[in-house]
């Protein structure tokens, strides 16, 4: 094998991968390793988080776009929404389950995404810690409240 060209993606070495439009991905580490940086982590948490973002994303395409279609597009758009409409929908276990899965997946996907954003921009250890605490508190609260609302919904509340 010749050492003159090093294909970045195997199997496609017969084409030029990089030009002005597609600069070669030489990406330096965003943060320097310091003495305090652990040598290795104990778990593959970040890899599972990465995978979860992609798997939940695929499911959310169906769940969220379906939800928006029903709520905002079909049958008069927002005009029809009201207590009676919700009572009609949550009379069906199918839509209860749809909303429950959508709630959990969207909240966890969004919270994990926001965790990445906080890690990227909050450089002081203290700021990062407290922003994430705020995020986790808000996430747990919202997921529990939404779950409770679906399971305790009462169409004859009055």
């Amino acid at each position: 094998m010749s050492a003159e060209t090093t294909p970045a993606v195997s199997g496609v070495d017969d084409v030029t991968l990089y030009d002005v439009d597609n600069p070669a991905p030489v990406i330096e580490a965003p943060r320097k390793r310091t003495k305090k940086t652990p040598k290795a982590t104990r778990t593959n948490f970040e890899m599972y988080g990465w995978l979860f973002m992609r798997l939940s994303g695929i499911l959310l395409v169906v769940l969220v776009l379906g939800h928006l279609l029903i709520q905002l597009v079909l049958d008069g758009g927002v005009s029809k929404i009201g207590f009676a409409f919700v009572a009609g929908r949550w009379a069906s276990p199918f839509w209860q389950a749809w909303d429950l899965i959508m709630l959990w997946l969207a909240m966890l996907h969004g919270a994990n995404g926001l965790r990445t954003v906080i890690n990227d921009y909050a450089e002081r250890d203290n700021t990062r810690f407290w922003l994430k605490m705020l995020l986790y508190t808000a996430t747990v609260f919202t997921v529990l409240l939404g779950t409770l609302v679906i399971f305790t919904f009462d169409p004859n509340i009055r």
Partner: protein, 126 residues
């Protein structure tokens, strides 16, 4: 291109910026949305009152904006997944982004009347 930066401009960076901004926006909406839906446990009147704000022209236009954000995030998310898992994904990332933009524009045009019909009807009569 400045040295020592991750920001490289062009389609790759700007689609990432838009994906991040829309993702954060949707998350904040969802937080408020679960709170307003929780009012069904207070009383039918309390719930119908907040839903009434969803039917005002300004909020109705914001809903169209929310649809724009979610459609972009969803379509571009599928592109990110293709870049990561499809062996030729990185090579076609640019073409895929412009396909995303085209499908997005098409769906936004189709959603215009259905989403805004409530406002269009109240402002310009039936």
């Amino acid at each position: 291109m400045p040295a020592g930066t991750l920001y490289r401009g062009r389609e790759g960076m700007w689609s990432w910026v838009a994906h991040r901004v829309t993702g954060v926006l949707i998350f904040f909406f969802l937080f408020v949305h679960v709170l307003d839906t929780a009012l069904v446990r207070v009383s039918p009147e309390a719930y119908d009152n907040v839903v009434a704000t969803y039917k005002t022209p300004i909020v109705n236009v914001m809903e169209y904006g929310l649809v724009a954000a979610i459609l972009f995030h969803a379509l571009n998310g599928l592109r990110v997944i293709a870049v990561d898992f499809w062996s030729k994904g990185p090579r076609y990332q640019k073409q895929m982004l412009w396909s995303v933009v085209a499908v997005w524009a098409l769906l936004m045009a189709g959603a215009f009347y259905p989403v805004l019909q409530h406002t269009l009807r109240t402002l310009f009569g039936s």
